[in-house]
């Protein structure tokens, strides 16, 4: 008898989910945010459809404020996978010069939430893969793997389809769409172990290095380019830092760390005492129900 490990079973489940979507949806797309979860999702897509390239494009809903290392890896990874890369910028956010320094919550709302809706509408995608995991956040724990959205992209947590066995109901009316989360049952540790086992390339920012930083509002921010407005009295300090999650650089808190290799990163993660999303400003809005509210509004 051959014994399947937990990673084998998670991989098989994710591949099964992706193939179901390709078999049943008319126009699927994979949301690609360049983070470690996206990297794993893309790798699984390559496995699911080998020897063909994954039969859908990658979509990056960009804010123009990601780390430079992320843009570099994004273009490289898409090319290596033989997939089309679609990059979308919300024209309104672009025109109004929306940025995380001056606009706070509006930045996420316009660039990401609205940008995503616009992009899905523009290309008429009826199924979109996302790399969210159920262990990330409480309201995610109850989300389905196939999560149904109305024509206006709204999520109704009270009206979710029951999901039994490995049977996914991908039926939908015209205009409606489905968000699909093939990594639902993975944990942060699973992701890291899989990255190591499979040798998946990730953005170097996950590993510690000397980087210019500023401490602000309790977050340790990296000064990634010249657009970072320094407040009076602020001077970038070089610290050995790394990131547990990656988003827009002015919104993503780094941690001081010397973990420069993958095993060291995992070691640090296992011994650490704060959760992964702790560095994200977004979850703290609207009390304990921040993410749930955002999801109802159409955030991924």
């Amino acid at each position: 008898m051959q014994r399947l490990t937990h990673l084998d079973r998670l991989e098989a489940e994710s591949i099964h989910i992706m193939r179901e979507v390709v078999a049943e949806a008319d126009n699927p797309v994979m949301l690609y945010s360049v983070g470690k979860d996206s990297a794993v999702m893309l790798h699984l897509a390559k496995k699911a459809f080998h020897p063909a390239p994954p039969p859908f494009p990658l979509l990056h809903v960009d804010t123009t404020w990601k780390f430079r290392d992320m843009y570099a890896l994004r273009d490289k990874a898409a090319k290596a996978a033989g997939m089309e890369l679609l990059v979308y910028h919300n024209p309104e956010a672009l025109e109004r010069g929306i940025n995380p320094f001056d606009h706070g919550a509006l930045h996420t709302d316009l660039w990401k939430t609205e940008g995503l809706k616009q992009a899905l509408d523009k290309w008429k995608f009826d199924a979109a893969f996302g790399g969210a995991r159920r262990d990330e956040e409480k309201s995610r724990a109850k989300e389905r793997i196939f999560s149904f959205r109305t024509a206006s992209h709204a999520w109704d947590p009270k009206n979710q389809r029951p999901e039994l066995w490995n049977l996914y109901n991908a039926k939908k009316a015209k205009g409606e769409s489905i968000r699909v989360f093939p990594l639902s049952n993975w944990t942060e540790l699973d992701i890291w172990q899989y990255i190591m086992k499979e040798g998946i390339e990730i953005v170097p920012l996950y590993m510690a290095a000397e980087r210019p930083t500023v401490e602000r509002d309790g977050l340790l921010l990296m000064v990634d380019d010249e657009r970072f407005p320094l407040l009076p009295g602020e001077t970038p300090v070089v610290r050995s830092i790394r990131f547990r999650t990656l988003g827009c650089y002015p919104l993503t808190g780094a941690i001081e760390s010397r973990a420069a290799t993958l095993p060291e990163v995992v070691q640090e993660m296992l011994l650490t005492t704060t959760s992964e999303r702790q560095g994200r400003a977004i979850d703290k809005d609207a009390g304990g129900a921040g993410m749930e509210k955002k999801k109802q509004e159409g955030y991924f």
């Binding site: 051959q2 078999a23 304990g288």
Partner: protein
């Protein structure tokens, strides 16, 4: 704090700190166990799960800080940490203090990763428990030591057993509140054993615990239960044998999900192996066609494999070019599964809208999606008393045994042999909601007795001889809308143009073929189903069929549409407002209906569901019957059968 804090945690921090590589090696090879916890509202389910997460250090300092603050604000444990708050996710539920859906939680020990489905214990949520149980290998049935075996305990056990969970743990919780009494524990176990036998549960593992205090969760026996000589809950979860070996020992079945054709030289069949093992050179049979071949290779991203086993997602190539597509099952050549189109199944209803016997639903089983109808239940099971009750339908959370008929044979195995090929979902064709789950008990009629294949004269041959493309022109509209009048005119025109046609009219069919049917909802559905079947046979004979029926329900019109090859079903909505039809009242029926002499009359006391996207819509308030007929014929010849 409580005494659990002195117990060792699952994770060996020393190894992580000293030799991370060794630790990671250890963890690469962990197994995976999925389980559910079920209990009544106050059995402490969420507290137990919170405790498991806490003890496995899946809770971080920032979450703990939030938890402590929440515990003081809305917690039910006074100043102590309320673990339940960790797992009660959605905003509305947090306020009500109850969980209302299925939530999945994750934790890991040295030996295994665990996925926990947290399912609510309320009576009205059978649906959620069945959903959570469908992917679980094991169920933890929680009992409050102060209350013993309750009606809910019996119900949860029945559902877990029904859904095929072979490992049951009877966790007698809140032992701290009964002074850790062995007598209490023994009595509850004896009660449960007596009950379990009556519903066919042969074996279970009883463990006395306190989710709140931590007794017998990670280590056993706890200082408070020296009399207990079994494993702790975690020890049991870590060591219980999962069904991997059994699944691999069965015959090969791989439902084909997707055919991979990147170029003309490669044709691979992608799917997840449901049971058995497969090696290159193995003889296989594609079901339902029955064609045989041998496995040429097992293709993966990491190179070709010498062997693949149940649970893996792979791509198979075959030595011969045989027909095989999504929905087919690649199986061991000498032990293939059967195909059938009529089954007896246990159905769990999951929708507020009741089951409508005779209505067409999508049925999805493995990778097959077909149209299915469910007959009136043979009986409904009372989940509290397990009595069989007479039932005409099934409502939300109803469980019944029903006959299911599919519009074409599907490959299956009985559910007790295979979850993958025996479990199905039912989907409403209009709302696309998942409305039911089914477990196949056995087939009633094997497909091999019905010979559909290889008719000597095919439908194409029939149509070719008549020099036309068959079609069904489905006229729908209120009584008195003008359906029959217009359909008659259309048929005359087509006939004059040399087409072979036939008109099925509502009144005429009810005098013969359907004279046993009345006007109840169920009879109306059956009426339309029969007309659809007749129309289908006539298109097989190459005819252009015109039907004029009120056919008030969208679902039935869609059912017929599904029976007819794509592009051959043309829905024509004769749109006449109720006031206009009632004013015309050609047959005097509206008058009778208004006066109560006629029951279930469409438009009066029975609904008419207008088509949302008919191929043709005729507004009779602005179009005469003659013009309408001409329009239809023109569009028909222009769009659907231009070669006529």
């Amino acid at each position: 704090m409580n005494d659990a804090s002195s117990e060792p945690l699952y994770r060996v921090d020393a190894l992580i700190a000293e030799d991370i590589e060794a630790y990671l090696d250890l963890h690469q090879n962990k197994g995976l166990l999925r389980f559910i916890t079920c209990g009544s509202v106050d059995d402490g389910k969420s507290t137990l799960i919170g405790r498991l997460l806490y003890d496995s250090k899946m809770i971080f300092e920032d979450q703990l800080a939030a938890l402590e603050a929440d515990s003081k604000r809305v917690g039910t444990q006074g100043q102590a940490i309320d673990f339940a708050l960790l797992v009660d996710g959605l905003a509305a539920e947090r306020e009500q203090g109850i969980t209302i859906d299925v939530a999945y939680r994750f934790f890991a020990t040295e030996k295994r990763k665990f996925i926990v489905a947290d399912t609510p214990g309320h009576e009205q949520y059978t649906r959620n428990m069945v959903t959570g149980a469908s992917t679980a290998d094991l169920a933890v049935i929680l009992v409050d030591a102060r209350k013993g075996v309750l009606v809910q305990t019996r119900r949860h056990s029945y559902l877990a057993h029904l859904i095929g969970i072979r490992h049951l743990v009877l966790a007698v919780n809140k032992m701290d509140l009964v002074d850790y009494s062995q007598e209490v524990f023994d009595r509850i176990v004896a009660d449960y054993r007596a009950f379990a036998g009556t519903i066919g549960i042969a074996d279970f593992t009883p463990i006395p615990i306190s989710g709140f205090k931590g007794d017998n969760i990670t280590q056993a026996p706890s200082v408070n239960t020296p009399w207990y000589d079994g494993p702790s809950l975690i020890e049991h979860l870590e060591t219980v044998e999962i069904e991997g070996a059994a699944a691999q020992a069965r015959s090969l079945r791989m439902p084909v999900q997707w055919v991979n054709r990147p170029n003309l030289d490669f044709r691979g069949f992608a799917g997840q192996i449901a049971s058995g093992t497969v090696r290159p050179g193995d003889a296989v049979r594609v079901v339902p066609s029955g064609k045989t071949s041998t496995i040429k290779s097992i293709v993966t991203f990491d190179g070709e494999l010498d062997e693949a086993v149940a649970g893996q997602s792979v791509t198979l190539t075959l030595a011969d070019e045989i027909d095989c597509s999504r929905g087919d099952v690649i199986a061991a050549a000498d032990a293939p599964p059967q195909a059938a189109d009529q089954f007896e199944a246990t159905i769990v209803w999951m929708s507020d809208e009741k089951l409508i016997p005779g209505r067409g639903y999508w049925l999805k089983l493995a990778t097959q999606t077909v149209t299915a109808t469910v007959a009136q239940p043979k009986y409904e099971v009372d989940v509290n008393s397990f009595e069989h009750l007479a039932a005409k339908t099934l409502g939300l959370n109803g469980i019944g045994v029903c006959e299911v008929t599919t519009d074409r044979p599907i490959v299956f195995e009985p559910y007790h042999e295979s979850r993958e090929l025996g479990g199905f979902i039912l989907i409403d064709k209009l709302t696309n909601a998942t409305v039911g789950a089914g477990l196949i008990r056995f087939c009633l009629r094997r497909a091999q007795n019905v010979h559909w294949q290889a008719l000597e004269v095919s439908r194409e041959a029939h149509a070719a001889l008549k020099g036309q493309k068959p079609a069904v022109l489905w006229f729908t509209g209120l009584s008195g809308s003008g359906k029959s009048t217009i359909a008659n005119l259309v048929e005359k025109k087509l006939h004059a143009a040399g087409r072979h046609t036939f008109l099925l009219d509502g009144d005429n069919v009810r005098h013969g073929l359907n004279k046993d049917l009345g006007f109840t909802e169920a009879d109306r559905i059956e009426n339309i189903r029969r007309v659809g079947e007749v129309a289908k046979l006539m298109t097989d004979a190459g005819l252009i069929v015109l039907t004029a029926f009120i056919s008030p329900f969208r679902a039935e019109r869609e059912l017929v549409r599904g029976m007819i090859p794509e592009g051959e079903f043309i829905e024509i909505f004769i749109d006449t407002p109720l006031e206009v039809a009632e004013q015309r009242d050609v047959k005097g029926l509206y008058k009778k209906a208004r006066s109560g002499q006629l029951k279930n009359f469409t438009g009066i006391d029975s609904p008419y569901e207008a088509p949302e996207n008919p191929e043709i819509r005729i507004d009779t308030t602005t179009t005469s019957p003659e013009d309408a007929a001409e329009q239809i014929v023109q569009r028909l010849l222009g769009e659907w059968v231009p070669d006529l």
